[in-house]
Amino acid sequence: MPGTFFYGSIGAIFDGLLVGSLYGLMALGLTLIYRVTKIPNFAYAEYITYGGYAAAATAGLAAGFKGAAIGALFAILVAAAIALASDELGFKPLWRRGASSLHLLVASIGIGLVLRYGLLGAIVLFFSTRYLEASTPQRSVALVQLGGIVSITSAHVLAVSAAVVLAVGLWFMFTRTRIGKAMRATASNPTLARISGINIFAVRRITWLIAGGLAGLAGFTYAYYNFVNPESGWLMLLWIFAAATMGGFTFLGALISGIILGLAEQYISFLAQYFVGTGAQYSPIIALAAMFIVLLFKPEGVIRMEALAVRRA
């Protein structure tokens, strides 16, 4: 079958774009939190999981597109609320007592554990099972069929367009808008930001709401083409961190890195499957290897800090 490899490759590339855009979308929120608060937030993955469940639980309230929109909205609201709560109750009190980024990183692992196993515990309690997988009742649909096996689905369109629009949107916000500049000022020198009249606590809250909202949208997208379980976000965290780190904690960098990682993961898995018949389980190694190589040769990430782009503008 001469066409199998060709169509398989195309399929892997499209799936890589879907998964990669999703990693990029998730890495955007992680990047935003890190840029403004200097917290490498391991609990971020859980906001995605909660978003996914919120979408699955509410998308059935209406049929079709309307229900999907309700699911997405609830996913965004729930994840944003949990993100904000984790800062108000966890990170902010520690930060006010002078916690360093390392302290906050450890705290984020703790907050992540509480969120993850809190959810798992609730599922066991109410559904008497550990394995309640959930998805939105509306499923991703094929929009274009290629060669009978490859399809471009509505999830592809959603993930890629959301990631691109939001990455550019966040870049624009950070470099061109008043609130974005206030976020950078707060990160750069919080005391001087206050002296300048910036309410840094309000800026911080807005940051967490946006970052949580991004996680929620990612959670919805995941539940739309896949199934969420209590560890879905946690299992993607390595990829999300790899994308954010490779991207040099810039928004456009996170998007590009996420897509590179997704493409590498899917295509190399495909090659292994095609020629060896196994190997997909090794895909996390690709994330680590890609991150290692980028950091070795370009420690600042795949693109330079956006602040420097302003200088040339």
Binding site: R178, A182, A185, T191, G197, I198, N199, R311, R312
Partner: protein, 246 residues
């Protein structure tokens, strides 16, 4: 007195639980430049920080335009017409010069007013005009100080608190910067309370001054009065000479 713009009444303040500034009474009248001088560790910077709400107030009051503002947080003080340039970390290093100034004008909604304020700053510090798209963190010490003062001027404050604006600068640049302060008073109508290491330099420029030792005001008067005071040398003795240092 109607012309009094800023006043402290028995103000005590510090950082943890030990007051560094003890029951200090200082005031600034409209249009005045007032210097706070004294040896290292006398609490000059702490006094400014306590006034602005960056350090903790332990007792006493801060009165701005006949209003008690002791408990207002820094962002609110900026909102009502005060301005503060800290001694260190006084720019946003990751923001461009223009963005630093924009952040200074964060409370101003009107784009035209922001543009006017920026124009005023560029007139006072012409060197900044060509550097507007450069990151503040990559500027020289003197240029950063201009950005720091410029940022605080963006809201057109009625009073500006300056914490050692010349620290670490070459003497020639330091003197230039101090001359600019007089220009700021005249062109922007700003009263100034300035902390300076170089007592002579500061007092020559100021209308009045206070000498602070161990967190207390020990001497006050016009620049000339303080500089010719027989006890001055003794008060600074062993810590710092009053003369043509640096």
């Amino acid at each position: 007195m109607n012309t009094r713009i800023l006043e402290t009444r028995r103000l005590s303040g510090g950082y943890t639980d030990v007051p560094i500034v003890h029951e200090v009474d200082v005031h600034v009248d409209k249009g005045e430049i007032v210097a706070l001088v004294g040896p290292n560790g006398a609490g000059k910077s702490t006094l400014l920080k306590t006034i602005y709400g960056v350090a903790k107030v332990f007792g006493g009051n801060v009165i701005f335009e006949s209003r008690d503002v002791t408990k207002l947080p820094p962002e609110r003080k900026t909102m009502i017409g005060m301005g503060f340039v800290p001694q260190t970390d006084n720019v946003f290093p990751d923001l461009t010069v223009e963005e630093n100034l924009e952040m200074g004008a964060y409370l101003i909604e009107d784009e035209n007013k922001i543009r006017d304020a920026m124009e005023l700053v560029f007139n006072i510090f012409p060197a900044l005009r060509g550097l507007r798209n450069v990151l503040a963190g990559s500027l020289s010490g003197g240029q950063q100080r201009m950005v720091a003062v410029g940022r605080a001027l963006m809201t057109r404050p009625k009073i500006l608190l300056l914490d050692e604006p010349t620290a670490g600068l070459a003497p020639k640049i330091a003197i230039e910067l101090l001359k600019v302060l007089q220009k700021i008073r005249e062109e922007a109508g700003v009263s100034i309370l300035i902390v300076e290491q170089h007592a002579r330099r500061a007092l020559e420029l100021s209308d009045r001054g206070y000498v602070l030792v161990y967190g207390k005001v020990v001497l006050e008067g016009t620049g000339e009065e303080i500089l010719s005071h027989p006890d001055l040398q003794r008060l600074f003795l062993g810590v710092q000479k009053v003369g043509k240092e640096g």
